[in-house]
């Protein structure tokens, strides 16, 4: 668990820097939320279907998504599973049961309930898990989905990453209820509030939640209290709306990775040498120069087979590119 948390941190740092250098267009970090990401993923099985918001790449990492695959999606090259169609960090992997990230907030919550319903109908030993932030709980989809999960008794775990900020909106402007856990109670869903920066607490909460969800067919809400140390995304500068010393304090004193490391060091399972070895090995794993996806990937997968109107549009585009090759990037295969 620890090495994955470190990997996540390093991954975030590298890609963030890459964005600042102009090599990728956009990135979203999960600094400060590594424990939520990794510990919750560790408590689930690979059959559990994950519906993320966008700040949960750690779950994918835990399940085996390689650093190269992360890079492929961010760079939108030919090897990207999404075929270059989505912005960076919109990862998705069918085989790892991680649903493709959509930019819309909270729309994945009803999806999770539907999937849980489907799992229940198929009587599978699995549950659906969905993540969202404190801001996402204001969306209508959240409320209706919670309500309906309770009514249909679906095995779904709602994990709310209450990190204090929705871009620049603090939770005091987001809601006046006592956090998110009370909302679960209002809908008849068993809820719990956990310290999101405590990896062990997260693990144990998710573990019991999963047990309850799958065996008793009920939804569970976990509110993981944490802090968004990074900016909302690379398009944001959070020092504009919150004091820099607050950010620093959370980064240093309350860092989940450090906290966990101290625990494993005390138990004698880790040391500083292992630490530096780990960190340096991660940085060397990512390649960047790869081919871009071809033009016809613009038209495939809109439907299961390409319809006539799209074929026409594709033809038109190719003709235009052939007529004016200088106006189009040379490194994109046709």
């Amino acid at each position: 668990m620890y090495s994955n948390m470190v990997t996540l941190q390093t991954l975030d740092t590298i890609f963030y820097e890459a964005q600042r250098q102009g090599r990728i267009s956009f990135y979203v970090t999960s600094i400060g939320e590594e424990a939520i990401n990794i510990a919750s993923a560790a408590a689930l099985t690979s059959d559990d279907i994950v519906f993320p918001q966008y700040r949960e790449p750690g779950v994918l990492l835990w399940r085996g998504f390689t650093l190269q695959e992360f890079a492929n999606q961010c760079f939108g090259n030919k090897a990207d599973y999404g075929k270059g169609r989505q912005m960076p960090i919109h990862y998705g992997s069918n085989k790892l049961n991680y649903f493709t990230v959509a930019s819309t907030i909270a729309t994945q919550i009803p999806h999770a309930v539907g999937a849980a319903y489907s799992l229940k109908m198929d009587k599978k030993d699995a549950c659906a898990v969905t993540y969202f932030g404190d801001g996402g709980t204001s969306e209508g989809d959240f409320h209706a989905a919670m309500n309906f999960a309770a009514v249909t008794e679906s095995p779904v775990i709602f994990i709310c990453r209450n990190n204090g900020w929705a871009i620049s909106t603090p939770t005091s402007d987001q809601f006046r209820s006592d956090g998110i856990a009370v909302r679960g109670q209002a809908y008849g869903v068993r809820s719990i509030r956990v310290d999101g920066n405590d990896a062990l607490a997260m693990y144990s909460a998710v573990h019991s939640a999963r047990h309850m969800a799958v065996n008793e067919h009920r939804p569970i809400l976990i509110e993981a209290v944490t802090y968004r140390v990074g900016h909302h995304s690379t398009s944001d500068d959070s020092t504009k709306y919150r004091p820099a010393n607050e950010i620093e304090w959370w980064r240093m004193a309350r860092d989940p990775v450090t906290r966990f490391r101290k625990w494993i060091e005390i138990n004698g399972w880790w040391g500083s040498e292992a630490e530096s070895q780990l960190r340096s090995s991660i940085r060397s794993q990512i390649a960047e120069r790869a081919e871009k996806p071809p033009v016809n990937d613009l038209f495939t997968d809109v439907y299961d087979n390409i319809p006539s109107n799209l074929r026409e549009q594709e033809k038109l585009l190719k003709e235009t590119i052939n007529r004016h090759p200088k106006d189009y990037p040379a490194d994109v295969p046709i």
Binding site: Y81, A102, T107, Q108, H111, V113, G114, F148, V151, D304
Partner: protein, 416 residues
């Protein structure tokens, strides 16, 4: 698996396989020999009309499958079922109303594939507001026919989530207008996810419900959502108009791997027709030739089909020979059938219930002009509803919908 019809009556020339193949994925672009049985034109005398028994039956394309009882509709609305197949004694198939046809299609698919399920408000034991899902909950259980809370965006989202994990949900909007609340899920997720996930996740969902102008239902319940949804990439839209194509389209939509929106019309639920006993589906991308002709092509869909057919009677009496096509597939358009018709008649009239601005007619005009401009002898005419919310008062409401008299006048003007 092709359904074969046993021809009845003198007009049947050949037995040919009618319905499209029932393979699970309708492949785009391949034109199968698909001829939906044409409507017989011989109608019974009715008090409100002086009838000339038209010899329309002779004009038929050779693939006609035998007479169907023509539903003669006074106001192009099926208020009373007029079943009069008395001419032939033992006709094959069975008679039912359109909502029953939808139910039959749904039921057969649910039996055939255990992953098909229904979600919507009051669809369970209540049977649905228009009784399309009546009896299904008792038969298949509450788990497969799910009553949802009043949260359209969310239960559509649920349907999408269920679809990408392997179920084949049929989501019912109690009225199409309510699906405006589900627009976010339909546009941003349903239409997009197959694409943005790089093909990893498919969403074989069917979203259906009644729409269109009803009988004084007020503005909010008389919406034509096809004009709002037509732009969403990734979805398919079809509109049913007869019990035959309602059942066929329902089945095809369920079997399709793409998200399909099936538009039904509030006033057509009580249409009665005789449909075959065999299993059949209607191709999702094909238009239906309702009445072949030579002078003018009239393109229409859903309820307007009946207004057009009524106008066609008058036109035939006046000596015109209109070709009527029910486009059925609203996205994408069946430009093959439409194109052939335009090449034959050189004049096009579109009759729709959508608003003038940004409706299906507007897109259809653009598509035809782009592709078949050289074949047109006159500018395309489009009759549609005005850009007003539908009023409650009956007389006002009647005048927002295109009436047969206007259609006749338009054809006369077009054919000058």
């Amino acid at each position: 698996m092709a359904a074969t019809f046993h021809g009845v009556g003198a007009t049947v020339a050949a037995l040919s396989s009618s319905s499209s193949s029932s393979s699970p994925s309708n492949s785009f672009g391949s034109k199968k020999l698909l001829s939906s049985p044409s409507r017989s034109f011989s109608v019974r005398k009715r008090a409100s009309f002086t009838m000339v028994r038209s010899e329309g039956s002779m004009n038929f394309d050779l693939n006609s499958k035998g007479r169907r009882a023509q539903q003669l509709i006074a106001n192009a609305v099926a208020t009373k079922a007029d079943s009069s197949p008395a001419s032939s004694s033992s006709k094959p198939g069975h008679e039912l109303l359109l909502f029953e046809a939808l139910r039959e299609g749904l039921e057969e698919e649910m039996e055939r594939d255990p992953r098909v399920c229904v979600m919507g408000e009051d669809v369970g034991h209540y049977g649905g507001s228009y009784k399309v899902t009546k009896g299904l909950a008792t038969k298949f259980g509450d788990l497969r026919v799910l009553d949802t809370p009043i949260a359209e965006n969310s239960f559509t989202g649920m349907g999408i989530g269920a679809a990408m994990t392997g179920l084949r949900p049929v989501v019912e909007g109690m009225n199409m207008g309510f699906l405006l609340l589900a627009f976010n899920q339909i546009s941003n997720n349903c239409g997009m996810l197959h694409y943005t996930s790089g093909g990893q996740f498919t969403i074989p969902i069917v979203i259906r419900g009644p729409g269109g102008v009803g009988r004084q239902l007020g503005a909010e319940h008389s919406q034509r959502l096809e004009s709002y949804f037509q732009s969403i990439p990734g979805i398919q839209m079809v509109a049913c108009s007869t019990p035959y194509n309602a059942k066929g389209l329902m089945k095809a939509a369920i079997r399709s791997e793409n998200p399909v929106i099936l538009f039904e019309h509030v006033l057509l639920y009580n249409l009665k027709e005789r449909i075959p006993d065999e299993d059949y589906i209607c191709n999702l991308e094909e238009a239906e030739m309702v009445r072949p002709g030579e002078h003018v092509t009239i393109l229409t869909y859903s309820r307007m089909r009946y207004h057009v057919m009524q106008a066609a009677k008058t036109l035939v009496n006046k000596g015109y020979d209109p070709e009527v096509i029910d486009i059925r597939s609203l996205k994408p358009f069946d430009l093959y059938t439409i194109g052939n018709s335009v090449k034959k008649t050189h004049r096009v009239l579109i009759v729709e219930e959508c608003m003038r601005t940004g409706g299906i007619g507007a897109s259809l005009i653009a598509a035809i002009t782009e592709n078949f401009n050289d074949y047109l002898d006159a500018p395309i005419m489009c009759l549609s509803s005005q850009d007003v919310p539908t009023p409650y008062a009956g007389t006002l409401e009647e005048w927002t919908v295109v009436q047969p008299a206007q259609i006749v006048a338009a054809v006369e003007q077009l054919c000058q």
